[in-house]
C-alpha cells in the first residue's frame, strides 16, 4: 500500500517514517516537508540515515493510497481537502478531526483507538487519532467506568516529556529551562479532559506536569469507587477488558523494582501499560497508565488503526518491544 507522510520533519512525522519502513505492507512514496524540501531526511532524523530518504515539497504531493497528516492543529483542517484529492485514505494525528468531525469530502472521521472502536474501523477512510495523554487516561478509565467502579470526578495527574509539544523550539522547551523541570504548566483546564469524558464517560479533573524526559506520557488516575473495592477486583476488570488487545499490557507486579507502568520502558513501542493499586480502606483506586506519546499516542496509534481499517494484522510494523535498561 502506497503511503505518504505530510509533516514528516516533525516528531510524529519522523515516527511515521520509521514505522512505515518497518511495515511489511506499507511503502513510502513521499516524506513531505516545507522547510526541508530537497534536503536529506537524515539531517532532521539522524536515526534514518541509512534509508537515504529525501524530503519532498508539499506542492509535489503524489497520489497514494493513504496519507498520514502529522501537522499542527489548524494545518490539518486547512490542508485536508487538498490531500483528499490525492489519497483515498487519510489518517490524521492532529486534534482537528477528533470529535467525530467530518472530512471536507463528507466522510465522518472514525476514532483511531482500536481498543474501544475496533468495530467501527474496518473499511474506514478517515481516521483521527486521539491525543496522547487522553489515550492513556481513556484506556485506564474506560474499563472501570463501564464496570461501574467510578463515582464522581476523577483526578488525572499527567506527566509529559518534551517531545509532546513537537519539534518547534521555544522558551519553555529550551534545554537549560526544561532539563530538570517539574513544570506544572497546565494545573487545570486541559483540553484532553473533554476527550476523556467523550470516550471513557468520566469527568476528569486533570493536571499536567512537564517532566525531565523526552518521550513518554504517564497518567496517575485517582478514582473514588461507589463503595470500597479491593485491588484484585480492579485488576480483574482490566485483565478482562484487555485480554485480547495486543497493545495493552496489564502491569501490576507484587515483586521486583518495576511494578507499575513506567514510560521509560515504552519508548519506541506501541504498548500502553495499565496497572492499579487501591487504598487500604478500599476508598480510592489509583490507576496508572503509560505510553510513548509519539507512538501509541500518535504515529503508532495511526498505523495500528490503519492496520485494522485495512484488514492487516493489527501489530504489523509495530513489533518493537522497547528496551531495558532504558
Amino acid at each position: 500500500m502506497k503511503v505518504s507522510v505530510v509533516g514528516a520533519a516533525g516528531y510524529t512525522g519522523g515516527e511515521l517514517l520509521r514505522l512505515v519502513h518497518a511495515h511489511p505492507e506499507l511503502d513510502l512514496v513521499q516524506a513531505v516537508s516545507r522547510r526541508h524540501a530537497g534536503r536529506p531526511v537524515a539531517e532532521v532524523h539522524p536515526n534514518l540515515h541509512h534509508l537515504g530518504l529525501t524530503f519532498h515539497p508539499p506542492q509535489e504531493l503524489a497520489p497514494v493510497d493513504t496519507a498520514f497528516l502529522a501537522l499542527p492543529s489548524g494545518a490539518s483542517a486547512e490542508l485536508e481537502a487538498g490531500v483528499a484529492e490525492l489519497a483515498g485514505t487519510i489518517v490524521d494525528l492532529s486534534p482537528d478531526f477528533r470529535a467525530g468531525a467530518s472530512s471536507a469530502s463528507g466522510d465522518v472521521y472514525r476514532t483511531g483507538l482500536p481498543e474501544l472502536y475496533a468495530d467501527e474501523l474496518p473499511g474506514a477512510e478517515r481516521i483521527s487519532v486521539p491525543g496522547c495523554m487522553a489515550t492513556a487516561a481513556i484506556l485506564a478509565l474506560a474499563p472501570l467506568s463501564k464496570a461501574g467502579l467510578v463515582a464522581g470526578d476523577v483526578v488525572v495527574d499527567a506527566r509529559t516529556g518534551s517531545s509532546g509539544s513537537g519539534a518547534e523550539p521555544g522558551p519553555s522547551s529550551h534545554h537549560a529551562e526544561r532539563g530538570n523541570a517539574f513544570r506544572v504548566y497546565k494545573p487545570a483546564g486541559h483540553r484532553h479532559e473533554k476527550e476523556i469524558a467523550a470516550h471513557a464517560k468520566v469527568r476528569a479533573r486533570m493536571t499536567v506536569t512537564a517532566v525531565p524526559s523526552v518521550r513518554g506520557a504517564q497518567v496517575v488516575c485517582h478514582v473514588t469507587p461507589p463503595e470500597p473495592v479491593e485491588r484484585r477486583d480492579v485488576l480483574r476488570v482490566l485483565q478482562r477488558e484487555y485480554r485480547d488487545r495486543p497493545f495493552v499490557r496489564v502491569v501490576a507486579r507484587s515483586r521486583g523494582v518495576h511494578r507499575l507502568p513506567d514510560p521509560q520502558f515504552l519508548s519506541g513501542t506501541n504498548f500502553v501499560d495499565v496497572g492499579c493499586a487501591v487504598d487500604e480502606d478500599g476508598g480510592r483506586i489509583v490507576v496508572v497508565a503509560a505510553l510513548d506519546n509519539l507512538v501509541k499516542g500518535a504515529a503508532g496509534g495511526g498505523v495500528q488503526s490503519l492496520n485494522v481499517a485495512r484488514g492487516l494484522p493489527e501489530d504489523a510494523g509495530l513489533e518493537f518491544p522497547g528496551l531495558h535498561p532504558a
Binding site: 534536503r39 536529506p40 537524515a42 540515515h49 537515504g52 529525501t54
Partner: protein, 59 residues
C-alpha cells in the same frame, strides 16, 4: 524516481544516486555528508562541491 547512476561524492566519497535527467548546474545533495554538490558535466556525471554557507550550529 529514475535513478540511472551512482557517482562518488567529491567531499566524502559516499555513493550519490543521480537521475539520468540531471542537468548542468543542478544541485544534488549527498546523503552521507549533506554536502551540496553542483553538477559540472552530465556525461560523464561530474559533481563539484557547491560553495557552502557556514551555519551557526554552535552551543
Amino acid at each position: 524516481m529514475t535513478v540511472a547512476t551512482t557517482v562518488q561524492c567529491p567531499q566524502c566519497g559516499g555513493a550519490v544516486d543521480v537521475s539520468d535527467e540531471l542537468m548542468v548546474a543542478e544541485i544534488v545533495i549527498c546523503q552521507h555528508c549533506s554536502s551540496e554538490l553542483e553538477v559540472v558535466t552530465t556525461d560523464p556525471v561530474v559533481l563539484a562541491l557547491a560553495p557552502e554557507v557556514e551555519e551557526d550550529w554552535g552551543e
